[in-house]
């Protein structure tokens, strides 16, 4: 009897040893995206791509879709079907990434140029109206003048969506009232002061 009591007490005390205040579950020896790491010499948990390799799903064989060019020539038309959905997506992405400089209307008078950034060209000048679709894709991908590349921020398909939306902005900019469908026209006219 006395022995079993001792055994129980011993086990109970041993159990206490297993509990602790360490935070190993809180701070596990793993790296989360963008976390610091003391394992790699540069201190970054996220690793750069290994040179001369292609990440899974990024073979990007479709030259026209991924470069906006055929050989060295910019392609004339958007290489994917332009649907209403693509245009809506283009508007959303344009408003996020482009409108800060190019303005929601495309005239180039966005908030950032208003604060002193060199003002970009309006999309409504002839040279840009006649520019091939590949030009816009190429500029988004590689930048242009003081404009940095947006390749890391805007996916290839979204670049085409933005291109399509720029075309829509160009088309609608100089449209006359007569070109507006009757149903929409009433709404426009009703909106007059």
């Amino acid at each position: 009897m006395k022995q079993s009591f001792r055994l129980t007490l011993g086990c109970g005390l041993a159990l206490l040893l297993t509990s602790g205040c360490r935070r190993e579950m809180y701070e596990q020896p793993k790296d989360k995206p963008q976390s610091a790491s003391d394992f790699f010499p540069d201190g970054a948990g996220s690793r750069p791509l290994v040179s001369n390799t292609i990440a899974r799903g990024h073979l990007n064989q479709d030259e026209q879709f991924y470069t906006g060019k055929k050989g060295t020539n910019l392609i004339e038309n958007i290489p994917i079907p332009v649907t209403r959905q693509l245009l809506e997506r283009g508007r959303e992405r344009y408003d996020i990434f482009c409108s800060v400089c190019h303005a929601r209307t495309g005239d180039g008078n966005g908030m950032i140029p208003q604060r002193g950034f060199p003002q970009p060209n309006t999309f409504h000048r002839d040279s840009l109206r006649q520019a091939p679709a590949g030009h816009f894709y190429d500029v988004i991908t590689h930048g242009h003048g003081v404009m940095y590349s947006y390749a890391q921020r805007v996916e290839p398909e979204d670049r085409w969506a933005i291109t399509a939306y720029i075309r829509a902005l160009q088309l609608s900019h100089d449209a006359t009232l007569a070109e507006v469908p009757p149903s929409e026209r009433a709404r426009l006219e009703g909106g007059r002061p």
Binding site: Q34, V100, M111, G116, Q152, R153
Partner: protein
């Protein structure tokens, strides 16, 4: 043999019982107050950063969308802290001499990332995913608070499990239309619970699974 206890001992005993109860009460209350205070939760405490970045200026002042910098928030578990290249998209031309921005310029020149200090973090056993939240109508401000009014960034909520569960038990209280997710000024309508209930249905939020342990812990 004399009595060990005097008559007075009865009162002392009663008083000490009361004392212990009071001590436990006050002690418990104090511990609780400390536990939920900003000293422990870090809520509403601006975090020191290598560059005093202002969300208020960039979002409210300039009208830059959250996703301009936090590009992966719609498709990844993490919203993404922007690379220095994103900052320099504008700051290669604006405030080019500002001493405050020296660490940013140096970061680009030396190709060394800025080391921002994390404001919101969850323990490593929590598998939080931004994309599922924003795609199901949970707005930035629901968790991050009025970031559009933060000159320096602070945490707006404890991110304790208790807090997560407030929404996971009944998301209709907080869910909003998808197109309002990135609108920091959005306010819930008067009939939020009814509208929220409809959105929960519409976005196929499976409320029966939301409180499963394995939803967040793996």
């Amino acid at each position: 043999m004399p009595q060990i206890f005097r008559r007075r001992s009865n009162s002392v005993a009663r008083a000490s019982i009361l004392g212990v109860v009071l001590l436990l009460g006050v002690g418990g209350w104090t511990l609780d107050a400390i536990w939920w205070s900003p000293h422990v939760t870090r809520v509403n405490v601006p975090i020191e950063q290598p560059v005093p970045f202002s969300h208020e200026h960039h979002y409210t002042g300039l009208g830059i969308d959250c996703r301009y910098c936090h590009t992966s928030v719609e498709k990844s578990s993490t919203a993404g802290i922007p690379p220095t290249y994103t900052c320099m998209t504008c700051h290669s031309q604006l405030y080019t001499d500002a001493p405050l921005l020296e660490p940013v310029r140096r970061s680009l020149i030396t190709d060394t990332p800025l080391r921002w200090n994390k404001v919101n973090s969850v323990p490593d056993f929590v598998y939080f995913n931004h994309s599922i939240h924003v795609n199901k109508g949970i707005g930035c401000s629901t968790c991050h608070g009025p970031v559009n009014k933060m000159p320096l960034t602070w945490k707006a909520n404890t991110l304790y499990m208790k807090w997560c569960l407030e929404c996971h038990r009944n998301p209709a209280q907080f869910i909003r239309p998808r197109e309002e997710v990135f609108n920091m000024g959005w306010l819930p309508p008067a009939d939020q619970l009814a509208k929220g209930g409809e959105l929960v249905e519409q976005y196929h939020v499976n409320t029966r699974q939301l409180t499963d342990c394995s939803m967040c812990h793996r």
